[in-house]
């Protein structure tokens, strides 16, 4: 206690000394310290002006003081008159810090402290002053946020300040935002010309201001506002369409990822692998396992799971091919049944060994969040990554099938097995490699899916029917067909969703595909020539 007193006295002494030396100079009354002092003694009316003066000193501590005043945390030690900021005001003893130096002054009984009183009017004023302070910071992002906060909050005093600020602001986005903030104020004042400034904006506050203006008594203003609103509505519609397209592409790329492995095993090899969904699930669980191996580093784990997921699923695929599928060559319906059995076993295995419940896979920081294109449209990052990943995987597969020895052999074996073998191609080896490739890609799909959906034993089941639909819709044996079919099915689904609901949209897409297959049994891009069977 006595130490605090002592410290407080010392501070007081310093302050007094400072005050004494500076008392004579005229400029000194506007020094931040002096202003702060006057603030404590000033009446409510005077406070706003003092705070404003404080902010105009350009002192970098001004922000902290203003916030402290707003939160009622600026206080004076009764004995000494020294100003302190209350760091923690819980309990009997409050923790305080020197208002000028920020030095920790320990704790002091709250009875010895006199807090600065603030009312709501003052608080609102402080908010305005704070926004103006934020408009001067170096980081354009912060300036933009501050300007956005000003939308609809501008009053007469602020308007003149904003106009001054506009002259010096060099960032285009911030300028636009400030102009909008000003224009809202002007529209509120009945300025018809300012409406034109607002007509391009997508901000909800702007729309609210315009909606108010539509109901105004001035017919010219109302008409102008109505027109501006209509053009905004038009723009919003476009943005909504863009958003739907984005969701559609994102769903579509998920479908492509899930189906592209199947396009290899089913489309190219002609093997019906009903366990494909479970290979996807294995990939997703690999991601989860990797994150358990590297706790606290979800990003690293995710990147490592890309090769790991591929390997795990590819090995599982080889095991399935060797143990079952090779014995069922040329009996597609039996293959379907046997692989379905395998899918049941794999599902139950995961349920028994890991858990029947969903596992959480952490999304690394660089994948969460979203990119804001404009006020009405923001793109979530993880979906953007999945779209990119799907395209990369697709391009990679395309390269393998077109440009490598393996791809050449695969195509040879599918077109004419006997001929390929007589040319010295080991057909059995090619079978294994192809199946491993298709399965590995399923694993990659699982890694991607773990970022956007729940990882559980039923993960694969949810995608297997969709995947088959995509492959059949696109045309069996055609990778491009799979890509286009996946993306278009995803988009159609998203287009239908707003007015049909998620479930009905899905049903409609299924029925659509069923009908489509009746019309074109070989899909969008049927194989032609010798590759086509039958």
């Amino acid at each position: 206690m006595s130490i605090h007193r002592l410290l407080a006295r010392m501070v007081l002494a310093v302050c007094l000394a400072l005050g004494a030396t500076l008392a004579n100079a005229q400029a000194q009354t506007n020094a931040p310290e002096a202003l702060l002092k006057r603030l404590v003694e000033a009446g409510q009316a005077e406070k706003t002006d003092l705070l404003k003066a404080l902010s105009e000193t350009g002192d970098e501590r001004a922000r902290g003081w203003l916030e402290a005043v707003r939160d009622g945390k600026l206080a004076m030690i009764e004995d000494t008159g020294a100003l302190v900021i209350v760091v923690n005001n819980r309990g009997r003893n409050w923790q305080i810090a020197d208002a000028l130096t920020g030095e920790d002054l320990g704790e002091m009984s709250r009875r010895d402290l006199q807090s600065l009183r603030v009312n709501n009017a003052l608080r609102a004023d402080i908010e305005g002053i704070l926004s103006v302070i934020d408009l001067t910071v170096a980081d354009p992002g912060q300036r933009l946020d501050a300007a956005r906060n000003l939308l609809g909050e501008v009053n007469e005093a602020l308007a003149t300040q904003l106009q001054a600020r506009l002259q010096v602001e060099d960032n285009g986005q911030v300028r636009d935002m400030l102009t909008n903030a000003l224009a809202i104020y002007q529209v509120e004042q009945g300025d018809v010309e300012a409406v034109a400034t607002l007509s391009g904006s997508l901000n909800p506050t702007v729309r609210a201001a315009l909606n108010n203006a539509v109901n105004s008594d001035d017919p010219a203003l109302a008409a102008a506002a109505e027109k501006a609103l209509a053009s905004i509505e038009q723009k919003l519609k476009l943005n909504r369409a863009a958003e739907t397209l984005y969701f559609g592409l994102s769903l579509g790329s998920v479908l492509v990822l899930a189906a592209i492995g199947l396009a290899i095993t089913f489309g190219v090899m002609g093997v019906i692998n009903m366990a494909h969904g479970e290979l996807i699930m294995l990939g997703a669980y690999t991601t989860w396992g990797m994150q358990q191996l590297f706790p606290g580093q979800p990003g690293l784990a995710l990147i490592l799971s890309i090769p790991a997921g591929f390997l795990v699923a590819a090995l599982a695929g080889i095991a399935i091919e060797r143990s079952v599928i090779q014995y069922l060559k040329g009996r597609p319906l039996e293959t379907l049944l046997a692989t379905f059995g395998i899918s049941l076993i794999l599902q139950q295995l995961v349920r028994t060994v890991i858990s029947p419940l969903n596992r959480t896979v952490v999304t690394p920081e660089w994948m969460s969040g979203s990119i804001m294109v404009n006020e009405a449209l923001s793109l979530t990052l993880n979906r953007l990554y999945v779209i990119g990943f799907a395209l990369v995987v697709f391009a990679g597969l395309m390269l393998i099938m077109r440009k490598t020895r393996l791809g050449l052999e695969v195509r040879a074996v599918t077109q004419n097995r006997a001929m390929a073998r007589s040319m010295g191609i080991k057909a059995t080896k090619v079978d294994i490699m192809t199946f491993a490739l298709g399965s590995g890609v399923a694993g990659l799909a699982g890694v991607a899916l773990s970022q956007i959906t729940n990882v559980g034993p039923n993960l694969g089941q949810n995608y297997i029917i969709d995947s088959f639909m995509v492959v059949v819709f696109g045309g069996v044996g055609n990778l491009w067909g799979t890509l286009i079919a996946g993306l278009s099915l995803g988009t159609i689904n998203q287009l239908l969703e707003p007015w049909a609901g998620a479930v009905l949209a899905k049903i409609m897409v299924l029925v659509l595909i069923i009908l489509f297959i009746q019309k074109r049994p070989r899909g969008l891009f049927p194989q032609k020539g010798r590759a086509a069977e039958g």
Binding site: A338, G341, S343, I465, V472, L504, I514, I517, Q518, P521
Partner: protein, 377 residues
Amino acid sequence: MATSQTWLLRPFQERSTQLFLGVLFAALVLVTFLHLFMPEDSALHVSAYTVTLLGKYLCYALLAVAVDLVWGYLGILSLGHGAFFALGGYAMGMYLMRQIGDRGVYGDPVLPDFMVFLNWQELPWYWQGFDMAWFAFIMVLLAPGLLALVFGFLAFRSRVTGVYLSIITQALTFALMLAFFRNEMGFGGNNGLTDFKDILGFDLRSDATRLGLFLATGIALAVGYVVCRAIVTSKLGRVSVACRDAEARTRFLGYRVERVQLFVFVVSAMLAGVAGALYVPQVGIINPSEFSPLFSIEIVVWVALGGRATLYGAVIGALLVNYAKTVFTGIMPDAWLFALGALFVLVTVFLPKGIAGLLQKRRQKDDDQPGAQEATA
């Protein structure tokens, strides 16, 4: 008239059909006797619970026969027969719902409970008429039959066969499952239809009604079996086997393949519907899970285990697998999916002709007639 009679009566002259019907009726009589005349504490007494369980198995057996008809004799692997089964079941369920009348929880004389719960004011048009038994029983045949007719007409006309057909039948039942899960469909959403009270005036909870339903199912299975046998032994049946083995060749010989396929497919769907209709009053509930692709594909494995293209094999398979399911899920529920999965793999790899194939092989060995081999693809 005379030709149709011989057509329907021909199966009765076959030894296999006689044997099958004999065993079936013996089993029905035995169960009835053991249930009615054995004292309750006797080890041989068959409880009402067991009777209902057996009745359920017989429904599955009829469903398996229906699947075997299209898969075994037409070469179409339908992964959506659960949809026809469930549609028949829903038709019956709607009748049973209407029979509840004002005995429901909310006591509404017309509307079923779930509709009152959803605040519906009147019965949707497709529920009209289901208070009459004859109408409902016709719908049991018509609903799955019509779906099969439309679906089959579109599919067979454009020559969708093989794996493609399997996949779109699966998509069909999946789409129906999603649809029936919706409350707006007016079929009780994911709770389905349940809380049935009585059928044709008989209390569903009484032992006598249960025995009656069991016997009715047995008779339905016998009739279904004979109808299928009659179809496959007729000229149409032989054309259908020809479609299975060489579709293009049959077409070039001048047969309208798609008509044969459509006819057999629709008959099979109706049989599945009947199986579903008998299943619902015995189990006491019908919900969208009957539409799930897993159930449909399970039916196929019953047939595969029993042996394709034998009909009686399908019955054996259905009974065995479902008995195993009851036992497994009772003792260790986790192991059932392992067992089922293994069954899929083992049967397709090691037992392509199923149990019936094993029986035939043994008989051939006994008879020592290597020449009489049956070609099953």
